[in-house]
Subunit: 445 residues, 2 copies
Amino acid sequence: MTSRRQLRLGAFMRPVSIHTGAWRWPGAQADANFNLRHLTRYIQKLEAGKFDAFFMADHLAVLNMPIEALRRSHTVTSFEPFSLLSALAMVTERIGLIATASTTFDEPFHIARRFASLDHISEGRAGWNIVTTSNPDAALNFGRDSHMDHGDRYRRAREFHDVVTGLWDSFADDAFIRDAESGLFFDPERMHRLNHKGEYLSVRGPLHIARPVQGWPVIVQAGASEPGRQLAAETAELVFAAPSTLAGARSFYADVKGRMDRLGRPRDHLKILPAAFVVVGDTVEAARQKRLKLDSLVHYESAIASLSVALGHDASGFDPDGPLPPIPETNDSKSSRERVIELAEREGLSVRQLAQRLGGYAGLSFVGTAQTIADEMEQWLETEGSDGFNVMFPWLPGGLDDFVDQVVPELQRRGLFRTEYEGRTLRENLGLPRPANRFFAAPAG
Amino acid sequence: MTSRRQLRLGAFMRPVSIHTGAWRWPGAQADANFNLRHLTRYIQKLEAGKFDAFFMADHLAVLNMPIEALRRSHTVTSFEPFSLLSALAMVTERIGLIATASTTFDEPFHIARRFASLDHISEGRAGWNIVTTSNPDAALNFGRDSHMDHGDRYRRAREFHDVVTGLWDSFADDAFIRDAESGLFFDPERMHRLNHKGEYLSVRGPLHIARPVQGWPVIVQAGASEPGRQLAAETAELVFAAPSTLAGARSFYADVKGRMDRLGRPRDHLKILPAAFVVVGDTVEAARQKRLKLDSLVHYESAIASLSVALGHDASGFDPDGPLPPIPETNDSKSSRERVIELAEREGLSVRQLAQRLGGYAGLSFVGTAQTIADEMEQWLETEGSDGFNVMFPWLPGGLDDFVDQVVPELQRRGLFRTEYEGRTLRENLGLPRPANRFFAAPAG
């Protein structure tokens, strides 16, 4: 069984959940945004479940939403990812710690240094989720009136990646001698000054921190656009995807891995993990009812706005408890409308239930028993829809406990998921190579 | 005894020590720059000694020094302060955590968020050492060819402080309701959008993190220039000073506290802590010998360069083992030359010893027994030379242990220093008020 292709599991974390109604669930830890004890418990449970990584989602502004949705949203505030992950490094030993950092609104010197430091503190468990930050509200928090356009953002991101990885290579792995007898602390011949001058960035270096334990922290990406896919194929080692169907996922998977083939990168040097919202029940019907109950905690007034946007049609006059009425064609996004109509029909949802689904969380979901969820995950893995999943828990801690206590053992029983961590670092556990230093040969011997 | 004015003690930390020869001391932890276990031990020892704060010094570049000094220097690399202090927050309970952050090379939105997060993680123990970063090498790491001039740096720092503190006040302390029944998570009426547009900065806000536990993290400053003193008098709550004599310290103290009088700020809302390098021995002579031994670990070739700079005269031809010969007058800094000549005479130092003193650490030092050191500290406190000290340990862990095990009990015996922490937060322990939110009245009751 050990020769089976292995699933990789990340945990996509918002402290309370991605679902907007989750904080109202009975027993949910609604104060988790600023309660470190809760987050300590979550990550320790994930580590007990042998998860590859704890992935801290992030934004650089209060999200722009209508006031009725905003005042009901637990996503408005939370810890900053770096300080949080450094703290959580102290209460865990093996799980990876992935922080999101923006190439548009930060400096490569700061980013390189902070990730290197997190990698030293965690003894090799850091990962950098590279985002270009598309939220225009963020620009206003950083002294910019207008947002950088999409192409510029991606060209800058590529250059930013090269500068950060170049800074990580400032010191050879064996630069520090610390010979008390001779008084030589390090060998300046084994220190490199980057002297980068590019289109967007100018950075001299060297970075004043030893090379990260992993050489480079693991490089993570989430962009699905054309330049996003290319950046991922060139640089990423983990990709967080957001497909809504297996067919869409397979097409994305084939595209990105095909780009890697053309670049001469081995396919298994990049793991593609779609986000999956997972609700576990003793029966499939029990899981569906749990989800409907969770959705029902989303405020209807704010949910109906989500439905109107998705349909391209004002839904506020619809009978909340009736079925979705026929929607006239418009010029708005047809695929979004069709997906919503198809969802309502497939699950037999009322207007209210449909609106609350969209207002709660509408992405890819696995709702069922540990067996049916493992079946779906196995199917995705074996048909090259993904290399694993970035799991979203419907509420915390209950939904997380259900996954670790029920789904993980089923995956392990099938030989699809580890029962012990393979190594000490995130790279070792993901089966990724340690990058060579581009400026220095490895120490002899 | 409890009514005596109390000393405040910070620990000025470079992981290996400020002294350039310290890593060669027998038993010194030369790998402390990247050894978190050592730093955990240090901070726990400081907390056992009831220190007010652990102060993490910082730079934004490899320091510019001649190659002979550089290759022998343990200061070339270390952890980044934020990730380190967030990690150390998890292994301590009461000691304050002060990070250095630059107003010249970072964004106020990032700085405000990171300190707020550290304050939440540490349950109210964060402090921000505001620096304007005078090192021109740092500019080259952040895409700038030339450094901002001194006046500009300080005007920007003042505006930066106002923006950061304004962002900390984005949410009223009672903004988060989390009423599961009604579904209201927070009250948008209790959220403030800063909309700052100033000379140097433009930041909309709100900051997407709840108000720090302390309202604002403690504001720390170290500048001694005219604009630095004024900024301190206006905004700082701790000042790290670097006087070389008690007379100079008293003059600085009177000047800054006088500025506070004129601004209407109570004098005890700012604590002035000179940096003090402390070497403890069983006798005064034993302490002096320890220091000479430590200094002797500084490489002579690099030390003699420091002596030449201080004298304004090439010292490389002097007899290392002879006394300092007469130095002709030059146009270079007379006060620096006179201080060096006076030091050599007072302590009877050879040229080698003098050079190694300057190359090791040449600032204010207390070298003696626990009693004589406590005498000096008491004198400084009682003659308004300071409100306490930012202690530098000659090497670690030995020099730190000597201070905590010998000097702290002597200070406690005299009623000059706490035997238990007074409160939970850094503000409570320093006796500083919690700032009111400038946009919202405190909750009723």
